[in-house]
């Protein structure tokens, strides 16, 4: 069954909309977002409030807002209006998610090993599950898997915790991993090491990866394709290699404004926000 789908897209999203009811009225957080992806590294980039995280959460039915879409399908199966029971067969098993800060995602009163086994409970049991867990820890390049398996979350550094978190998400061997700013809380060198692990996993396990980030320059070197979001809409879709030729002034502005080591400027260019960017984008 999975084999048949190998060629087609894993995930199809058409005209995804997310609305929030607030005391001041309805906030339209995500507007007509459409994309399809296969086994690749797809980046969703934008500033805070652009709707990138809500888009990622909507795929797993985790946004508190009201989700509507013409199509939101994983291997052709719709992801809208599923029961909790149906979700359980998908969440954490076929689609997994890694959050920003491992401190808040790991359960502080369970050892890493217990949490890994918990994640694998319905797939493998006993010694086989343990072997699988240790293998996963090794796969995220933890040098001493036995020690980390026995460790409590507070005994791990940020980078180690995030690796353990990724290992946990991979226990069920998902086909799609959604990573929401998975490395923002980490130091630069550790950040890159974690990215290298994700990169490896996408290649060796043929996973799809949705990488949600605010860092366009990181995404440019790490991902295959990029969706640039602004005010709830996708302004531009690009392959990462042609990002330098981006046409939209917002994308160009985002690329230009971070300070660069090699090319120092007296003043940094500032983004001039154009109200027309808020208007509906024509497909």
């Amino acid at each position: 069954m999975r084999g048949l789908m190998e060629k087609g897209p894993i995930l199809e999203v058409e005209k995804l909309n997310i609305r929030f009811n607030t005391p001041v009225g309805v906030v339209h957080a995500v507007r007509d977002v459409s994309f399809a992806m296969g086994r690749e590294k797809l980046a969703i980039v934008g500033e805070s409030g652009s709707g990138k995280s809500q888009t990622g959460r909507a795929i797993l039915g985790l946004t508190p807002g009201k989700v509507t879409a013409e199509k939101l399908a994983f291997h052709g199966q719709t992801l809208i209006g599923l029961s909790e029971q149906q979700w359980r067969t998908i969440r954490g098993k076929r689609i997994a998610m890694v959050m920003q800060d491992p401190k808040y995602s790991l359960n502080p009163v369970m050892t890493i090993g217990e949490q890994l086994l918990e994640a694998a409970r319905e797939i493998k049991e006993g010694a086989a599950a343990r072997q699988h867990a240790l293998g996963m820890l090794a796969a995220v390049r933890i040098r001493d898997p036995e020690r980390v398996f026995r460790a409590w979350p507070h005994e791990l550094s940020g980078g180690m915790g995030q690796r353990a978190m990724i290992a946990m998400m991979l226990m069920a061997e998902p086909e799609l991993l959604i990573a929401d700013e998975p490395t923002s809380a980490l130091d630069v060198t550790v950040r890159l090491q974690v990215l290298a692990i994700l990169d490896d996993l996408v290649k060796t396990r043929h996973m799809g990866l949705i990488f949600i980030s605010h860092d366009l320059n990181l995404v440019r070197t790490f991902c295959d394709r990029v969706l640039v979001m602004y005010a709830g809409q996708v302004l531009e879709k690009l392959t990462a290699s042609e990002l330098a030729e981006a046409r939209h002034p917002y994308t160009r502005g985002l690329l230009a404004c971070p300070p660069e080591i090699d090319q120092r400027r007296a003043r940094l260019p500032v983004l001039q926000r154009d109200p027309s960017w808020m208007e509906p984008v024509r497909p």
Partner: protein, 269 residues
Amino acid sequence: MTEIVTESAAQPMIEIRDLSISFGQGADRVDAVKNVSFTVAPGESYGLVGESGSGKSTILRALAGLNPFWSGHMAIAGQKLAAKRPRALRRLVQMVFQDPYGSLHPKHTVDHILSEPLAIHGVEDVETRVRAALDRVGLGPEFRFRYPHQLSGGQRQRVAIARALILEPKVVLLDEPTSALDVSIQAEVLNLLTDLRQQLGLTYVLVSHDLGVVAHMCARLSIMRTGEVVETASADDLSEGRLLHAYSRQLLIASRGYDPAAIAAFGDF
């Protein structure tokens, strides 16, 4: 460890010699900063770069007078710092914090936040000074009576900068002032800081994990790791790749983006 001794005629604005800072006692003792020395000239902007736990923020907090447990020599504008500081010396050094959501009192209006330091030091003319402070950081008078939760991250950081400047300090300590902001807002805040330094002749010490930000803001910088200065370099050294220490070079490579081959060669420091 290299120490740059600036033999200029002018007295340095900040002088730090053999600064050590430790927390706890006995077996729990953690040496957060070990024998760090550097000087900053008046009007200069100096950078401290490093990853978490390198001790860079600890130095800044000691300079600000928030941490009394240090040993060594620290002086600002020729005045030696001790555990207790006279008020006049406190006015000279102000600080801008990393998290704009945590550095403004949630129950105080912008007006209250800005006038509080004036009230503490008994400065007259509160009305005009508060207006001028808002104007200086590019916020209109309509922001004056808002609460922090009614402001965006960038606006809050502007208020924090206005608060730091309202006592007319000579030294402003910047602790990751833009790392919690979006890149486009970061550009605006960094430009503002650049302008203010020129207009007011301020001296900055900027702490950041982002080599790009430090290279942009500072002519000279120290790269730190586990409480020690690994290397002191100029911004030109950075952009031309003239770094001596392997750790500094790795940090520089890491800041250039994702490159699997380079990452595989990373050492463990």
